[in-house]
Structures are given as C-alpha cells and as structure tokens.
Subunit: 476 residues, 2 copies
C-alpha cells in the first residue's frame, strides 16, 4: 500500500506493509521515529520503532535516503500532525544511503544545488510537490480536451520545414560531423543526410496541427518543442513542452472563450487535486519572501490561483493597451525598462504585468496586434494594419497563451508569405488547407512550463521540468 | 453542434446548424443529398437539399472536399442507414475544392497514394478512424496511469547519454555543417556545440524514468523516441512514441501483472469507446483479404481484440519456449525463415507469432532470456545465465512490450556495465539510484505505434502515425 493510501485509510489496528525512503529519523534509546515517504504524497507516514524489538545494527542503517520495508500495525497517532502512524514489527533495510555521501541530507538546500543533483531532487518535498503538480496538470489537459471532443495529434518533432520563424533551430543529422559529403560547389550535400535533406527539431506543431483541424475538426498537440537560442534566463529552455489546440470553424471570439475556459479548468483542477502540494509550495514562497518589502512580495499562491478563477478575463485591443501604457504614471516616470513610445512597439513582460496587476487587476486578453510583430499565418483584419491575434496575460508571468484566428484566404495568405519572405513552393502542403475546403479556424499555444511556473509559484523554469536543457547543459 | 452530437441528439424538428466537409453529393434536379462530415465521427450526416430552395450556382460549388455551412431542420430520416438527417434551409460554401485538382475524390485510393498526401488523408474514412483511435488509446493510457497513482514524467529528448545501446542515434547540433570548429588534433570541438558536448536524440526515457521511480514511486513516460536505423520496413519508424512505466518495489511478477492489466484496459477501452471506427476498419480488412486463402487471412479485428481480453496471458520461460520451437513441426519442416537451433538464439517475429497463434493460442509472456541478448540493466538471475526480462507477445505483431526487473545491486550492475563496455564514470547519475536507497524496481516499454497496428489492424506502421519519418522522408 502506498503512503498516500495508508494515510487516507481508516484501517486502524490492521497489519500493514509499506516501502519507501527515509526522510528523517529521530528518537532515543527506547523509541525511534522514522518519517517515511514513497513519493505518492508530500506527507510522510511516521513509523514508531520500539528499540527493543528491532536490532540496533538494522536501525543504524536507517538513515536519510535509505530504502526501507516496514511491517507493522497501523494505529491512531498520539502525536500531532498526522492521523495515523505505524507501530513497527519489522524493519528491513533494502538499500542504504551513506550519510557521508548522500547529497540530500535533511537541511535546507539551495535550488541551484538541487539542480546539480536533478536526478535526486525529486526526493525533496519541494520537487516532489512540483512534479506531482506537473503530472496533474498534464492529465487535466488531456482530460479537458478529451471531454470537449478534441483529438490528440502527434505532430512530428523532426521537420524539414523552417517557416514558423519562432527562433533558431537545432539541426538533426547523421552526416559525419568532421567530414560531411560535399557537392561540387563546396556546400554540404544534405541529400546524403538521413532524410535526404537538411532537417531540424520543430519549434511548433501548429502548421501540422492546422492540417489535423481541417480534417478532424478539433485537435490538440502536446509535445516537446525546441529553441536553439543562447538565452540563459529564468524563463527560457532549449527543450520544453507545448500544448497547441486548433479548431476548425472557430473565430477569434471562440478562441478566446476556449482559452479562458481551458485555463480556468486547469487551475480549478489544481485546487481540487493538488491542495497538499500547493499549500507546501505556498508556505515555501512566503518563507522565501518574508524579508521582502510588502509591495515586492508575490501574491499568495492559492489566492493568485483563485484570482484567475474568479475574474472574467478583460478583453482589450492592443491599441487600447498602448494608450493605457503610454499614459500610465509608470511610463511617464520612466519606471519601465522599455518605455512605451507609441503604436507598433512589441510589449514586454513588464508592460503585460502592469496591465494585469496594476491597471485591470484581472487576467487580460489582448487582441488586434500590429501585423508586423506577429506571424504570417494570422488572419488579417480589414484595417490592413492589424491581425486577429490574441495573447492571454497573467499576473507574475505576463503572456501565458499566444494565439490567433488563422488567415483562411489563400490569396491573402500567399501575399503575406511573399512579403515576409517565406518560400511558398515548399509550403504547398500547408496552403492546400486553403485551396481545398478552406474555412475559418483558430488556435493557440500554451507553454507547459510557463503554466507550471504560474501554478507552482516557482521562479526559475529549470525547476519545473525534470531535466532542463539550456545552453551548455544537457546533463542526465 | 458537431456531426457526432447531431447524430446522437434526438431533437427532431429543431433548427440546427452544422459545418463540415462534403464527402459526396448525389441527387437529381429536384433534390440533392450531401453527405457531410466534420471529423468528429466516422458517420456522415445527410443533408437533403430541395433544389428549388437553394441557388443552383451555390450547389455547383458543393463538391467533394468543399467546406460548407448548413442551416436547416433536423428530421427523422426516411432513408435507411441513419436515424436523422437535415432538411436544408440554407447552404453556404465557405471553401471550395476544385474537383479537377482535389486529390481525395470519392473513390478507392491506395494507402501508398494517401501516404503521399498525408496532409489530407485525415479526410478519408480510414484515416479518420485510425487517428480517432490513436487519440482514444493515448487518452486511455493517461487515464490508466492516473487512476493507478502513476506520475507522468517528461524525460529529456536531447541527451548526451548514449548507453541504452538500442540503436543508432541522430546527432543534435548547432555547429556549422561544413566547417565545424576543430581541436588541435583535428577532431571536432564539441565543446563549442550548443550544449558544450556532443548530443543526440534519445532512444528511450527508461534510465531517466528509473530516477523518477526511485523518488516518486510510480512513474510513466509517454513521448517521442528516435532511431537512426536505415530500415525501410512496415514495422520501423525513425521517430515514434513510446510509453515506459517504471515502478519502485515491483518485482518481475508485479511487472507482468501490470503489463497484462494495462494492455487489457487499453483494449477494453477501444471496444467501449471506438466501436464505430473499429467496425469500419474490420470491414475494410475483410474486404482487403477476401481473395486470400482462409488460412492466410488475419483474425477478424474485433474477435482479435476480444481474444486478448478473454485469455490469461501464458507465462513461459525463454528456455521452455526454445524447446517448444525447436521441436515444432514448423521448425523440423524448415518452415521458419530463421531455424531455431537451440538455447541462446534471439527470437524472431515468426517464432513469437508461432507461440501465440499456433502453440498456446493466447497472448504469451516470455521471461528469463539469456543475458547476452538483453540490455545491461536487467536483473541477473541466480543461474548466472539469464536475466529477469519479460516480453509480451501478441498475435499478428509478435512482441508488443519488452521489459524487465532492473538490477538493483550496485556491484553486479557495475560489473555487467564493464563487461559490455558501458562507460561507468559518465553514468554515475544513474548508478546513484543503486548507491543511495536502492530497491527492487521494474518497468517496461510499449511502442505506441506497435499497439496501434494491433488495435486498428493496419499493416504498415506509416499509416498509424500522422506524419511518418523514415529514411529519406521527412515530408510535411
């Protein structure tokens, strides 16, 4: 039985067995208390050991990190903090953990240090909580889409297309790294590469997702995407997971409704299924920030999640947002790192957060961005200047979702592709959706780790993915 | 409302709207019948058009593949084959599909041809069915593990580890393809590559999965894996999806129980949720094989699925299996392509299928394989010759799952790694699970497309993944 099941069961007086890892051991010559955890929950089960019943040489090996097998009686706990505990009849040490060498001793470790032992950090309360929440959010995503008639589409990771323009890409190759085959003109002969041409790791499944939506109606992707950008920040990963729903016959309004309903579902799911872990993370965050000035502290974690749940997202145009930002005290007093000079500029995280946290005091959906700062496939508005884009902005993290209605008009799309220099010929498969049975359709992308930063309150994106890939780092 | 919802609703006499793609149109001067499909189900909704009510120039554009928007009355169908149909009041063509150019005309297309237009093949009945089932199976996998207390772990795709030994790998790089930086000795300076070393696309998430299991208890992966093998067969892909559960404290027996329960759950889910699509695929398969001799025909699809559900999987040792195969008529009459000569040989698909289809007449789990033909991390049995491996064998496809109990003893594992030439130093993160709190644990891998071949009855693995990647092919 797992620790979670044991703690939930009311079977006091029953013989039980449990296996797990020792978090702490304390006690005296008469009695020892082992806090045992098996990863199923943040809560430990307490094992009470009568030192007369278990050999001393066994108990010596019961140290933090050791794997032990306990047989005993489940009883009501006399101590505080837990309902049940186990009176041990037998303790078997399956695997020791030398206290001189085991890195995760019961003391405060920095997140930086734990990143270096990422293969063991799941054994801490904080990362146990984060990765159980990561699971819960992934499951909620599948549940939501399944319940709403979407089909999960696995778009390809290796792609010869390079048209999303979302950033630099990793090359995938089996050519000899030192002596690649060359053509007569001295360039590399990619025809001899594995796929017969130069291939990369995908930056987005959207274009293939559109193919799915224009046949199956409603699809979503949920898979890894890649950026070969040399960005060493708390917000960038070279490998991360994206969720991209795409819906035939949806316009921008439908798309906003979907995004809002979806995000609220996920946050409600977290509150309903992960409260133990959320409470732990909330306490950690408050501890972390207790020396900060009140105005610099983050919103309390649960409160922040409820803040999103309890507000209709404010839907505002980019043009209105620019006016608000330009005329804000913040801007006039030079408090923005990037001053807002006027229409046409791209918004930074500080601007997005200002709109959400200071101005509207609720999540915001911005629409109608200038076409110059958005991707080629977005539906062109009649004004000739803007596109039917939408970004959902959240407290703490700014943009959490970016999406749009897609341009369904073949001629307009081709014209725009030519304007921005996208090779039309190599994209004929994409254009076929506009050539045959075109219809309005919309979709968006949610960065999974961005969502997790929000839900867990963690500050560094490397702490919400099991084994982060960043420039110069591909450990484990 | 989707076509699926319309067909299920009993709201006859109600005004409805539906959007979808035309599958076929037939009729005469008085009345036209449009078969409309939006991807939500294999069944079309029939739209009946009184030609006096809808303009002729509109109806001319209603051709196969066109996207149309229909408003009308939901009524009981007078024809056979469906319960409801729509009496059209208005038909709007959103996107035409020139019959001279649209490739998916209403006639029989070969699977090879449809592979060339993979971006449009979702619009056929067969691929609609396959990819709806693919979704259902993916969801069932997440549901099963979530219900059983497993945590979904996203193991990394880009990895510097090359120890699984499961095949050749793709290199991931940002170095200049033609002029890579060189070290003094003339070799490529991978320190200047993006991750500061040579990196590859993963062939398995298992090793990282073990790290998760030895902390969180029960985990599973479900993500893309890669093989740079030059295999052009109906069973190999360069990019495919794998499911790999890993469970702390599970021995081989638990592992077999999990595999059997899991596979039966998935097949039961398919029968309960995908019957329309399965019936279509079953009919297709029978049509396909009607000219074959009875003994060469596959088992009927639904029957084959029930065959798995209704039998306890036979658990047999490799050693027993070799005896059976060696002494089989098949072997003695030279009917095996690879004759079974004796203990130690690896089993081929033909042998696996013989055991399942001819000898035991039920799914089989083989255990106790010779250590030489299995991976280094498998638990060594006391006989010194075999390991605690298990392969689950199914009709039609042979091995569907491969797994094992893992070697939890540090010394035995290191000795074996040295024997087979795995660099121990670079694997110290993996060995830490055996150094600190080691315990018995087990897991297995299920190739998602292998499962789909079985459930859909399709014969070529390229037809059960949206955009197949194979040697010389990375289209779309």
């Amino acid at each position: 039985m797992s620790v979670k099941e044991l703690l939930q069961s009311g079977d006091c007086g029953k013989e039980v067995e449990v296996k797990g890892w020792v978090r702490t051991k304390r006690g005296n010559k008469q009695v020892n208390f082992i806090a045992l955890n098996d990863g199923s929950t943040i809560n430990n089960i307490q094992v009470v050991v009568d030192m007369e019943k278990v050999a001393e040489e066994v108990m010596k090996k019961v140290t933090t990190g050791a794997a032990v097998h306990v047989k005993g009686l489940l009883v009501e706990s006399t101590g505080s903090g837990q309902a049940h505990e186990i009176q041990a009849k037998e303790v078997i040490v399956m695997g020791e953990a030398d206290p001189e060498k085991y890195p995760i001793q019961p003391k405060k470790h920095s997140l930086e240090f734990l990143r270096e032992v990422a293969h063991l950090r799941f054994r801490t309360n904080i990362f146990g909580a984060v990765f159980r929440i990561r699971h819960a959010m992934a499951f909620a995503i599948h549940q939501y889409f399944n319940d709403h008639g979407f089909y999960y589409l696995h778009t390809p990771l290796i792609t010869a297309s390079d048209c999303e323009g979302a950033g630099e890409m990793f090359r995938v190759t089996t050519l000899d790294a030192k002596n690649p085959p060359l053509l007569e003109d001295g360039s590399v002969d990619f025809r001899q590469d594995f796929f017969g041409k130069s291939t990369n790791l995908t930056v987005s499944g959207q274009l293939e997702g559109e193919l799915g939506a224009m046949s199956l109606g409603k699809i979503y992707t949920f898979g890894p995407t890649f950026r070969a950008e040399n960005s060493n920040t708390t917000r960038h990963l070279s490998e991360f997971w994206m969720i991209e729903p795409e819906v035939a016959f949806n316009d921008l309004e439908d798309n906003m409704d979907l995004a809002e309903d979806f995000l609220k579902y996920l946050i409600r799911y977290a509150l309903e299924h992960c409260m133990d872990d959320l409470l732990f993370l909330s306490k950690r965050l408050q501890e972390e920030e207790k020396d900060k000035k009140a105005e610099d502290r983050s919103m309390e974690l649960i409160e922040k999640l409820q803040f999103v749940l309890n507000h209709d997202f404010e839907r505002v145009t980019y043009t209105e947002a620019i006016e608000i930002l330009k005329n804000s005290k913040q801007n006039k007093n030079g408090k923005f790192q990037y001053p807002v000079t006027g229409w046409g500029v791209d918004l930074q995280s500080e601007h997005e957060r200002y709109l959400v946290e200071k101005h509207f005091k609720k999540p915001v959906i911005l629409t109608g961005y200038p076409k110059e700062i958005k991707a080629f496939y977005m539906k062109q508005n009649p004004d000739g200047k803007t596109v039917a884009a939408m970004d959902v902005l959240f407290p703490q993290i700014g943009e959490i979702i970016g999406g749009s209605q897609r341009e369904e008009d073949y001629d307009k799309l081709v014209t725009r592709m030519k304007e921005v220099g996208i090779p039309v010929a190599s994209m004929s498969w994409y254009l076929d959706t506009r050539r045959f049975g075109s219809a309005e359709h919309s979709g968006f992308g949610l960065g999974f780790e961005r969502l997790l930063l929000f839900v867990t309150g963690m500050g560094n994106i490397r702490d919400v993915i099991p084994f982060p890939r960043t420039p110069k780092n591909a450990e484990f």
